[in-house]
């Protein structure tokens, strides 16, 4: 019974670990296309799932340029499921979004 109990707790813990959060990836500086997975408006942060299945966590800065059809738009324009193209700069393991272009 103790073994079953221990297994239950261990597997539940592992499940909780993965259920509670998502892992993110670090990529080289460059341009990536993908879909917005999540928008955290209060932090001006987005998660982008790239076409090669990487998850980028991007915190907008004062210099991040957000555009749609060539025009600058507000952060509130962004929604989950939108296709975007992002220019990121890697500093250490931090990804700075230089530009985000809405593709639709």
């Amino acid at each position: 019974m103790k073994t079953t109990l221990l297994k239950t707790v261990v597997f539940s813990t592992i499940f909780l670990f993965f259920a509670c959060g998502e892992s993110t990836d670090v990529v080289e500086s460059g341009t990536y296309q993908g879909t917005i997975e999540e928008v955290e408006a209060d932090k001006t942060e987005i998660y982008v799932e790239t076409d090669d299945d990487k998850t980028l966590e991007l915190y907008f800065t004062e210099t991040t340029e957000l555009t749609r059809n060539g025009s600058v738009v507000e952060f509130s324009t962004l929604e989950e499921g939108m296709r975007v193209e992002v220019d990121v700069e890697k500093e250490g393991k931090r990804l700075n979004p230089l530009a985000v272009r809405v593709l639709e």
């Binding site: 707790v9 509670c20 993110t24 955290e40 915190y59 393991k93 931090r94």
Partner: protein, 162 residues
Amino acid sequence: MQEIPEFWRTEVFHPLSVHFPIALLVVAFLFKVVALRFSREVWELGGTILLIAGVITLWIAIFTGDIADGVVSRKICDPTILKDHENLAWTTAWIFSGGLLLDLLRQLKYPVFRNIFTRLLMILLLAIGTGTLGYTGHLGATLVYQQAAGVYVPSGNCAEFE
């Protein structure tokens, strides 16, 4: 010349709040373990009170951590550590909340939960939670001491303090 920032910054509330759940939950776990051997009510009831206080302050720490995240993630050099810290903190919070729920169900004398299986499961959850709590704290410490997360770094000549 750079200026010394205000102390009460958004990111400061997290380090101010995290030490309460760390202390309360570790001691709660120890009380519950001692209560297995010694039947005095102080260990059982004391452990429950500490657990309630610990879980409440743990969720407060999660809240303040989430606020700090928005500031700190833009400055540190390896936000992946912060992500691990955040994920593990959530896991820890749910584990201890589950442990508290089991304990309260036992304390409220629901017959179905008044058995050794529930008690051992609760203590196992607290044991695992204490482990993940420790590692969460370790990750938080590396963020502060290796990446200066939330920390003001004075200028080389300390001119702003003159």
